[in-house]
């Protein structure tokens, strides 16, 4: 088993048979444990493997799957994972005594001192790793997602036009861009849709394509194989981009969970990351007033409003929050204001304390939105009101 002093090899009775101990240096101990926890190999693993082999041991049992991995990659094939393991539990019950018994520390007091320092160093290492500007990485990633999506739309439209010369029916039956590109790559020349194996590979899209067969001959032009080939080349890159985009989204989701869990839970990983990108980092977002957050991404409209005195915008990118763009126009500004307030709280908690309060925020927001929807069910009758006022004035004036 792994411990803060090194690796211990024990038999079923809990006796220590062999050990591969770390040098007595907090920095080194911590960095070795750090590597081990990431599933990377350290010298002590090889050392223990050799010692185990000399003893004629051919099976190891460990608790941590990552440690098991390390042993396997160090050439010890037969490693079992057992969580929790009885022997390891027994050792844990007298771990510090054992450290003294082995001679790694002269007293239990010293053993505690070592443990404290190692744990401190290890935690500090992980903090540095986690906090190092991950929010800026996520901001870059989300901007990249936006750009890829723009490119995808352009290229997919091009492919539809281009391939449509040859086989317009495909574009007509498959509306989803990604499905269309996938089908294009599989089919290639339109004559191929009559082939059984091609149809089979199309999977769920098969039904739609069989319909094309029923409607009779294609209205597209006859082209050569090489004409189709270039289209397919482009299509395969587009498909690859779809995959990259998907991976980026998963990445943003994951990193947002580490960097800003409350923000992520409140408005979703991508929108949350977008706000971080617009603000220029989580710290800056956390320090913005809610009213600014409400308009992030609508700067152009805001300054136009300030300059010309036209109506100011009600929302920036938070418009993408479903409850806003799905609501009728006259409610959006109110919901945007409520949401921006919650986002400000979430960002501040994420940056300053890191507690998890998203559930309360969501609950509050839900209630507020409900309240807005009930209070402002029908559109305000501004125009009518003005007319009425004017009338009153006129009447008052005439009397």
């Amino acid at each position: 088993m792994g411990s803060f002093i090194g690796l211990l090899l024990c038999n079923d009775e809990g006796e220590v048979l062999e050990k591969a101990l770390f040098p007595k240096n907090y920095e080194i101990q911590a960095s070795k444990l750090y590597l081990l926890s990431k599933g990377e190999s350290i010298d002590e693993v090889k050392e223990l493997c050799e010692k185990a082999r000399k003893l004629g041991i051919d099976e190891l049992v460990v608790e941590d799957p990552k440690v098991a991995q390390v042993f396997v990659s160090a050439g010890f094939q037969n490693v079992k994972i057992e969580t929790p393991n009885k022997v390891a539990k027994a050792i844990r019950s007298q771990l510090l005594k054992l450290v003294v018994k082995i001679g790694y520390a002269t007293s239990e007091d010293e053993a505690v001192e070592i443990l404290h320092k190692v744990a401190f160093n290890l935690s500090a290492k992980r903090i540095v790793e986690a906090v190092e500007k991950r929010d800026l990485l996520v901001a870059q990633a989300v901007s990249c997602i936006d750009e890829i999506e723009k490119i995808l739309n352009i290229l997919a439209s091009r492919l539809r036009e281009w391939y449509g010369v040859h086989f317009p029916e495909l574009g007509n039956v498959i509306k989803d861009h990604e499905d269309f590109v996938r089908a294009l790559i599989l089919i290639g020349h339109r004559d191929n849709i009559k082939k059984k194996e091609v149809l089979e590979e199309l999977g769920p899209l098969r039904d739609k394509i069989s319909k094309i067969l029923e409607t009779g001959p294609s209205l597209g032009a006859n082209v050569l194989q090489k004409d189709v080939d270039v289209i397919r080349d482009v299509a395969s890159i587009v498909l690859k981009l779809y995959e990259v985009n998907e991976r980026l989204r998963r990445y943003v989701d994951e990193v947002m969970g580490e960097v800003a869990p409350n923000l992520k839970e409140l408005i979703g990983p991508v929108l949350g990351a977008r706000l971080i990108a617009l603000a220029g980092g989580l710290e800056r977002l956390a320090k913005l007033p809610a009213s600014t957050i409400q308009l992030l991404g609508a700067e152009k409209a805001l300054f136009r409003a300030l300059r010309t005195g036209s109506k100011p915008p009600k929302h920036g990118v938070i418009f993408q929050y479903p409850e806003i763009h799905r609501s009728p126009k006259w409610q959006r500004g109110k919901i945007a204001r409520a949401l921006a307030g919650k986002i400000a709280i979430a960002a501040r908690v994420d940056f300053f304390t890191g507690e998890y309060i998203a559930d309360e925020l969501k609950e509050d927001l839900k209630n507020r939105i409900k309240e807005i929807k009930e209070t402002y069910k029908s559109p305000p009758k501004k125009v009518v009101e003005k007319k009425v006022k004017k009338k009153v004035k006129k009447e008052g004036g005439s009397k």
Partner: protein, 225 residues
């Protein structure tokens, strides 16, 4: 000194109000801006029941506590260490508190404010849902104290108990009903968590509701049989 709870002092303030306090293990150092008192050569730290659920539980009449001098505690969800510092005071230099926290940002504060000055605190940055992640640092413990805002809180407790809790060991579980399921009534949530604990081999000793210190929170004291 509290008559029933070891290591916890009851202080009557000048205005007649009753407050809790613990003996400061790191004299002169405040963790979260609490008041320090001198009492017969001993420095006490006032323990704010509005900021610590354990203090709230004691204020609300929790009479038994397995925490005492020399005890080993696995503390899941230390956050920035408010409660943990008082637990560290109670168990003293012969005891130990293994403080597990998942969020790096909070952990940083925990290191700076608590772990740095207290040798009996072992800080661990890891996910409490995966006990194997810190098996190389933690020894067998007498008590698990858990305060994590997660659904499946009690399952996390049972998993950790399987790894680290001594036979007959104790567990404190702070339940935040709204973190488990916002749509359900808190009482329903408590009931479900208690069931999971029982299935995991725990005997429920005490359930304390923490109002008015914390709304929709409860503290469960349980013992592994």
């Amino acid at each position: 000194m509290h008559e029933d709870i070891s290591g916890v002092y009851v202080v009557e303030m000048d205005d007649g109000s009753i407050r809790l306090a613990t003996r400061n293990l790191a004299p002169g150092i405040k963790v979260y801006g609490e008041t320090l008192l001198q009492h017969g050569g001993v420095e006490l730290r006032l323990w704010d029941a509005y900021r610590s659920k354990l203090a709230a539980a004691f204020m609300k009449g929790l009479k038994t506590s397995p925490l005492r001098d020399g005890i080993k505690v696995l503390y899941l969800g230390v956050a920035s260490g408010t409660t943990c510092s008082h637990v560290s005071d109670i168990v003293g230099n012969d005891g130990r508190v293994y403080g597990v926290e998942f969020s790096p940002r909070v952990m940083r504060e925990f290191l700076e404010r608590v772990a740095k000055y207290r040798r009996n605190v072992i800080p661990i940055l890891a996910d409490a849902r995966l006990p194997t992640e810190y098996a190389h640092l933690v020894e067998e413990v007498d008590v698990i104290y858990q305060d994590v805002a997660q659904p499946y809180q009690s399952k996390i407790l049972v998993d950790n108990a399987d790894f680290y809790l001594k036979k007959g060991g104790w567990a404190f579980l702070a339940i935040k009903a709204r973190s488990i399921d916002v749509t359900k009534e808190p009482s329903e949530v408590y009931k479900r968590e208690v069931e999971t604990l029982k299935d995991g081999g725990f005997e429920i000793v005490h359930v304390v509701h923490l109002e008015p210190y914390d709304v929709d929170h409860a503290m469960i004291l349980a013992r592994r049989t």
